[in-house]
């Protein structure tokens, strides 16, 4: 891609690529501020999936015929695109899973049960999504691995000193933290976390479900050992996510699931495993979805993360300014480095009621605990409303949110 010819960021042009954004909801134009839960899909992603299904489809890896060869090329081509996106040293280190959640469960099984020893510990943080918490609890209960929780500061940032304290006894085998909080918007200093983990002999895993959407990711610059993200938040299809891990880790890890495509040879007595990444991809993969993911990666690359983060910074500044002007409204978290995710509570109005009122005006936000129940407890709230931005979010939409919230406040006064 030639950086010189990259068009300037034009949010209206981008919006034109997303058919759903011209829909109305309850008679009002859709204002979609729930992209952190799942993002909308641009036409190139939809088209790539349709084109595959209409013109070039068969099962992959197994067929000795033209359709299968072409489909295999397309499917495998996504590994190259993803490797480039996150600057992975090798395409063979890109494993496709159903979503981030499956990827983390894979690591909890194949690295946690497969490599870690009972008595070792896993460190997570207080601001993890359940996807990066429950699998480690299950590992703890099944395998006798200790689960430690690194604190966050009152501003909603990872407490680095607190993290380091948990590493002192060198029992920690893995530090598994989010790269960006889906509640607070906090971007975690991943390179520092990785360096700290390594200093104490632990590996570092990052849940990039949110970060990969909002920031350029370079797994080598971070020094990560494992990195995960999920396509549906990156403007891609549902049903596919990515686990990247260092080659030597993947090679040492036993497989997660058994079945076709992940084997070397099979007899009733014994089976051998395929090379990475295939060892971790049992059964027919999400073929059409991989093809859609490639289109999504190319779509964000064509816009460029410079433009994306700049747009997001403008939106974020504006949103924080407008929201902090609303009496009784409290934005959760105040991290220095934060992305376009704003969770808030409002005096006298419960988050669900807020969400329903906003919905009536066509404004889609989420309300609840955002799959981060322990974090909500830490913040001392039961639930919150959350507005989150995408590349298609406009200043006018932020204004619509803020204006409507002022009316919500009156309604509940």
């Amino acid at each position: 891609m030639n950086v010189m010819t990259k068009p300037v960021f034009d949010v209206e042009r981008i919006r034109a690529d997303f058919p759903i954004l011209s829909q109305t909801v309850r008679g009002k134009p859709l204002v979609f501020l729930d992209s952190a839960a799942s993002a909308q899909k641009p036409r190139p992603v939809i088209d790539a999936m349709v084109q595959a299904m209409e013109t070039q489809y068969a099962n992959v890896h197994r067929g000795l015929h033209w359709m299968s060869e072409r489909t295999t090329d397309a499917y495998e081509g996504t590994r190259d695109a993803v490797a480039r996106l996150i600057n992975a040293p090798s395409r063979d280190e890109i494993v496709f899973a159903k979503n981030t959640t499956e990827g983390i469960n894979l690591v909890a099984h194949s690295y946690g049960r497969g490599i870690m020893k009972p008595g070792q510990a896993v460190v997570i943080s207080e601001m993890e999504h359940h996807a990066n918490l429950v699998p480690w609890q299950m590992l703890r209960d099944a395998h006798g691995v200790e689960l430690r929780v690194a604190p966050i500061t009152d501003s909603g940032e990872l407490d680095m000193a607190g993290l380091e304290a948990l590493l002192q006894d060198r029992k920690v085998g893995l530090v598994a933290v989010t790269h960006m909080s889906n509640v607070l918007g906090t971007v975690v200093p991943a390179a520092r976390v990785a360096a700290l983990a390594h200093e104490y002999g632990a590996k570092a895993l990052f849940d990039g479900s949110q970060a990969a959407v909002h920031r350029p990711v370079d797994v080598q610059a971070i020094g990560a050992d494992f990195y995960l993200f999920t396509a549906h938040k990156l403007y891609g299809p549902t049903g596919i996510g990515v686990l990247w891990a260092r080659r030597e880790l993947l090679e040492a890890m036993p497989p997660f699931m058994g079945g076709g495509d992940m084997i070397g040879t099979v007899s009733f007595e014994r089976s051998t495993w395929a090379e990475i990444p295939h060892k971790f991809e049992a059964g027919t993969p999400a073929i059409i979805e991989a093809i859609g993911l490639k289109a999504a990666v190319e779509y964000v690359e064509a816009i460029g993360f410079d433009a994306i983060t700049a747009h997001e910074a403008r939106l974020t500044d504006h949103a924080l300014a407008r929201l902090s002007d609303i009496p009784g409204l409290r934005v959760l978290g105040a991290a220095q480095d934060r992305g376009g995710v704003f969770s808030f509570t409002m005096e006298g109005a419960h988050a669900h009621d807020i969400a329903t009122l906003l919905d009536r005006q066509g404004i889609a936000v989420r309300a609840g605990n955002h799959c981060a129940e322990p974090l909500m407890r830490r913040l001392g709230v039961d639930s919150s409303a959350r507005a989150s931005t995408g590349i298609y979010t406009t200043m006018a939409e932020i204004d619509a949110l803020a204006d409507t919230l002022l009316r919500v406040r009156e309604f509940f006064a």
């Binding site: 669900h352 009621d353 329903t356 009122l357 009536r360 039961d382 639930s383 309604f411």
Partner: protein
């Protein structure tokens, strides 16, 4: 701006939602159960005292939205004096009402609950209405926890 929401957030419902009459643990109760809505974090704990096969008193503690609290409060009102064996029928009627918006065949005891039928336009809020009823049934059946799924 929110005119079409005045049904759901009627003065009646809002009063029950903000200053519930039964929103506390009764001094005496013989059964209790919690109800959780795992998708959003709402929680209701219902307490009930039975007397001679009837619900003598019900109360609740909740952390939840106005609709949940209103539903819990209206429920406590509605079930007082009802035969224990009749509660499931009432609960089923409330659930159907919340889903469909209609309650032609509803029990007379549910009269004050009717305004909550406006929730049927907001499917994800239906659970807010039914959660307290699930907790009540669980309490009467000796369970400790339930969910609104």
């Amino acid at each position: 701006m929110f005119d079409d929401l005045r049904d759901l957030y009627s003065a009646e419902i809002r009063a029950h939602g903000r200053t519930p009459a039964h929103g506390q643990r009764p001094a005496v109760f013989d059964a209790s159960a919690k109800g959780d809505n795992p998708m959003c974090g709402d929680r209701v704990q219902v307490f009930v005292r039975r007397d001679d096969g009837r619900v003598a008193e019900a109360g609740f503690e909740a952390r939840g939205c106005e609709i949940t609290v209103a539903s819990a409060d209206l429920m406590c009102e509605a079930v007082r004096g009802q035969p224990v064996g009749h509660i499931r029928a009432l609960s089923d009627q409330v659930a159907a009402m919340a889903r469909t918006g209609r309650c032609e065949a509803c029990d007379e005891a549910l009269r004050d609950v009717h305004p909550l039928s406006a929730v049927h336009e907001y499917p994800s809020r239906v659970k807010c209405v039914t959660l307290p009823w699930h907790a009540l049934l669980a309490a009467l059946h000796g369970e400790k926890e339930t969910t609104s799924e």
